[in-house]
Symmetry: C2
Subunit: 245 residues, 2 copies
């Protein structure tokens, strides 16, 4: 008998996204360190919206045009010509409330535009700070889901895979999961969940390394905190907005 549950797949890298039925699915963009964690934080702290763009030039152009705050990084550091970076701590409520952020990042915004190009039914962003909001939404929608890891320049990474695993471990009973990548993600999350930070450190995760070299341990710890900024971040009309489910 064919299962009546919707399907769930995990794409471990943008270079694998084409293998899945994007146009028939809700796509969750996952860029744990740090784009999607920062997106959740910015919207949690009351920003009007975030406009994700895929180049620094476009970020600068649009920032001027709409008088938004330009933000983003390349290779883990503030990109030249932009005002702010990709750290959630740059965006407290007293600064960001009511404002519009124009954001570009190495991997996360690129994947979002790929999903758009492939006709995703609906796009949300996911991170540990808004884990519960993501899970609640996916269960309620009863639609096929693709957990899309932004990875690092197409190379699979541990932290995005762990977030996929965290989602799967919570919502798996509501989905038909015939996907080895999803099983691998959930298995690794089970190993790691006691202390995600120590897991990344012990496994010598490459982006953990990159960020600690920039002195960003505090960012990493925050980006691994479940429900620290628990809002649903939805892509609608070219913008990421805080969605009221």
């Amino acid at each position: 008998m064919k299962s009546l549950k919707p399907t769930l797949h995990t794409s471990l890298s943008p270079a694998l996204l084409h293998l899945y039925s994007v146009s028939n699915s809700i796509v969750v963009i996952i860029d744990v360190l740090r784009a999607t964690s920062t997106i959740a934080t910015v919207l949690f702290n009351g920003a009007k919206c975030i406009i994700p763009v895929d180049s620094v030039a476009e970020c600068i152009r649009l920032g001027k045009q709409i008088e938004g705050i330009t933000a983003g990084e390349r290779d883990g550091q503030v990109a030249e010509g932009l005002s702010y970076g990709n750290s959630p701590f740059e965006y407290p409520a007293e600064f960001i409330k009511g404002k519009t952020l124009v954001l570009t990042t190495t991997n996360g915004t690129k994947l979002l535009h790929m999903a758009l190009d492939k006709g995703a039914k609906k796009i949300i962003t996911g991170s540990f700070p808004n884990l519960s909001a993501v899970c609640t939404y996916l269960v309620e929608q009863k639609k096929n889901v693709i957990l899309g890891c932004a990875a690092w320049k197409d190379r699979v990474n541990i932290e995005d895979t762990l977030f996929a695993g965290a989602v799967i471990s919570r919502i798996k009973d509501h989905f038909d999961i015939n996907c080895d990548a999803s099983q691998m993600a959930a298995t690794m999350y089970t190993d790691a969940k006691e202390d995600l930070y120590e897991f990344l450190k012990n496994k010598n995760a490459s982006h953990y390394h990159r960020l600690t070299n920039f002195g960003l341990e505090k960012d990493i710890r925050y980006c691994l905190s479940e429900d620290a900024a628990n809002v649903l971040c939805m892509y609608e009309g070219g913008k990421l907005v805080r969605s009221v489910p």
Copy 2:
């Protein structure tokens, strides 16, 4: 100080192979269920050589031309027009000794030809039946290594990743490993190594499913047996041959 050890990377899917420096590395082709397990068995049982080809038509053409044994599968079953399939049990010594096999498979031979096209320095095949031979060779060579998982139609799979993890867990001290995919593979192997068969079953691995539906549990158990056909299988001059280290 820069490490003096060679590097090791794991490519979890043929669609990710281009991310790594193939032309500068030994590439290990991994297609655990069942191509590379069968290759090790065929060479262990005394075949003269195996000629991997990437299409059924080419397999038939070449088989006639050189009076070789045509073998291969598409989607896990014997391909139409070929004499034999992809099961290691089809090739006992009394049948295969001294003969030439012309082989085509869904994923493994495709990846081998990709690695060739990208100018791999040296190509060997890896499977649990020849795990020790692979590890000994890689440590001796002191060259950069890419563990190339054949996956399933570019989708990451559990069994090939587990084999990469098994190799890494044995030889990691000899390499500089800055690769999250390798860490993920080694972590999963640690979880699974007590009973690889049960792990595949419990994780509902998609190819485990596909093969058990064909009644091939015995094949799976054999393909997960470490050192059951412990020979080094090397690609040389268009053929896979048993190499004497």
